[in-house]
Amino acid sequence: MKRRGGVVLALATIVVAALASTAGAGSSAVTATQAINCKSTVKLALITPLTGGGGFIGQEQLSWSKYAVKTLAKKYGLKVQLLQGDTPVEKGPGEALVVAQKFISDPKVLVAIGPATSGGVASASGALTAAGIAQISPSATRTSLTKGANREATNAFFRVVPGDYIQGPTDANYMVDKLNAKKVAIVDFQEPYSVGLADAAETVLKKKGVSVTRLSTSVNTTDFSSLVTRVPGDAEVVFFPTQQPADAQTFGQQLLEQGKRAKVFGGDGSNSPDQFKLAGSYVSNFAPDISGIASSKALIDGWKKDNPSATLGSFGPPSYLAVEVALNAIKKACDAGKGKIANRKLVIRNIKKINLKTSILGGPFRFSTKSNDPLNAKFYIFQIQSNGSYKLVG
């Protein structure tokens, strides 16, 4: 009897789950075509790791997104609410989809600022697009999101930063052309960001005749001593595309501890003057140091006023730009619909047409006609100085 009851309970659970999923699909289909009154509050959904090991990225993006909403909503005559979806990197890329599902059912969510990570984009882009929600990522750089036969993101995915197909070769070319490297060690962390970047750099380095030693470690590694032991003593550069700047610092120190003189070369993930400050090392980044851009000074001052204890990093300003692109497109869709947006897919079309004369990252901003990546974007190389500051060198 008990057994039969268990079977009935299991069947009932399956039926309820099936009904629930159907209801979810139905509601996302309805919300995708629901009209939005521009006088009411429209919502942006920030999808980023706010907690966990990558929390520093999300917190920086959150502070700049909030600041962008505060300063730009008025400019565009919109009432805007910023929702937050936490996707700790420890929960894996699938968490972005879980978070996205919550936003999909809210008809007032018009644009997702994110997902922040490439894995998150690959996981959630399909569902968000099916619901008519555009995605503008301020930090997802994996090449295959927007390029190649097996594109991982949909046409509703945009990013305001260039992809790793630019970063990897930029870094590799700098190592060969400027640092005259003949022997390079590359370390990846067995996750999409660093593997993609490491692969892109390795391809260029090998083409240029550089001897490459490829090493790999877990993203959970914090003591790199034994990895350092594997780095050839005569390597001139170690390419270390981590998403944890403090790891790059530790790795560099442990290289010196073992008497190895190779320069550490980090990607955009290790770009943090607070945490990676080993003199002589290099980092690349998708954004210039905006503190050197005169037109961005007022924005930085305003953000600092709202966030007095925060340090200006490289992950925040692109979030400001992503919000700006989103609000600009919403405004255009509102104007075209005379105060109404017939459905949220119209916002996607307007994002594609965006053309800003100036942006917080410097210079004009628009998307490429061939992909949804920024037009003419490039990566910048910085060298860490003895006082810990980052000097633009390439």
């Binding site: 001593s225 990895l227 032991t229 610092q249």
Partner: protein
């Protein structure tokens, strides 16, 4: 040969820290038969206490006291703070469940683990914290030391290894040569009989938490002197400590020490000679193999039950 010496040094450094963590698991398990899954998070809190005291004393670049005193102060502060935390955990999370089914304190332990990790994250943020020992005394801790062949043994590693072994030796003396240690052994052997012999069981249990947590605090500081710390670091560190305790024989003090060192060497040699990819995997393969083929560990005693 140089590679072997370097990897041995790496393994010894890492293993010393694992051994200190494993001792906490073994002490508590030996007496309460409880897997204290919050122990890794006590380690994390210790590393944060050390970081806080380091900042209070002027930080690594401009300390207000000599470096040796700074290192002693942050270690003792972490040990004291974690000892208090251990007492609080025992009092509020485990003692009320002492007579409950064994699953209840286990779930409570997991709850405490999450509580500590997320509380620290809420209070101090998710970002990594670096002691920046590299900047202490112009890098003396990294560059001074002695050489074995072509391998430099830096001062910092010597400090970590010696400190860990001194703490282990003190614990060994305490457990085998003092009345309290003998009371702990008696309680571990048979709690009810020990109580009938007049041993204050509550006191012994609290003492085991004090010792285990203080060692975790010290391990937190010793670890964070070489690698950054963050609120979620306790989970993996705890798992490694638990694995070390299982390898050595959970409940056995010398077993925990041996297990920690074996694990450290296994990780270092795997990374150095086999592949840097497989070290974490190897750790848990070792754990599974021990659970399957020698659940009592290397130095533990098989649990014989009358039926």
């Amino acid at each position: 040969m140089d590679t072997f010496i370097q990897l041995t040094l790496n393994g010894l450094t890492l293993g010393s820290v694992y051994a200190l963590i494993a001792l906490g698991y073994s002490l508590v398990y030996g007496i309460l038969k409880l897997l204290n899954f919050a122990h890794g998070d006590v380690f994390m809190v210790g590393s944060f206490i050390g970081f806080g005291v380091l900042q209070l004393l002027g930080g690594s670049t401009d300390p207000v006291v000599p470096i040796w005193l700074l290192l002693v102060a942050i270690t003792l502060a972490a040990m004291a703070g974690c000892a208090v935390l251990g007492v609080a955990i025992e009092r509020f999370a485990y003692r009320p469940l002492r007579d409950a089914p064994r699953i209840a304190p286990l779930i409570s332990a997991l709850g405490v683990s999450f509580f500590l990790a997320y509380s620290m994250q809420l209070l101090f943020g998710a970002e990594q914290r670096d002691y920046d020992a590299f900047s202490m005394d112009d890098g003396a801790l990294f560059f001074k030391g002695f050489d074995i062949g072509n391998v430099r043994v830096p001062l910092l590693r010597i400090i970590i290894i010696v400190a860990a072994f001194v703490l282990m030796a003190l614990l060994w003396v305490l457990a085998t040569r003092t009345r309290t240690g003998k009371a702990m052994q008696a309680t571990s052997y048979d709690r009810e009989a020990a109580a009938m012999m007049g041993i204050d069981i509550d006191r012994v249990i609290v003492f085991a938490f004090v010792l285990g947590s203080a060692l975790a605090g010290a391990a937190g500081v010793l670890f964070a002197l070489r690698a950054p710390t963050f609120p979620s670091i306790g989970f993996l560190a705890g798992l490694k400590g638990f694995t070390a305790a299982v390898i050595g024989g959970i409940g056995s003090i010398p077993g925990a020490m041996a297990g920690g060192l074996i694990l450290g060497f296994a990780e270092a040699y795997t990374q150095g000679y086999i592949s840097t990819k497989w070290s974490d995997l190897l750790v848990f393969v070792i754990l599974i193999l021990f659970m399957l083929f020698r659940p009592q560990g290397l130095l533990g005693k098989a649990d014989i039950r009358k039926v």
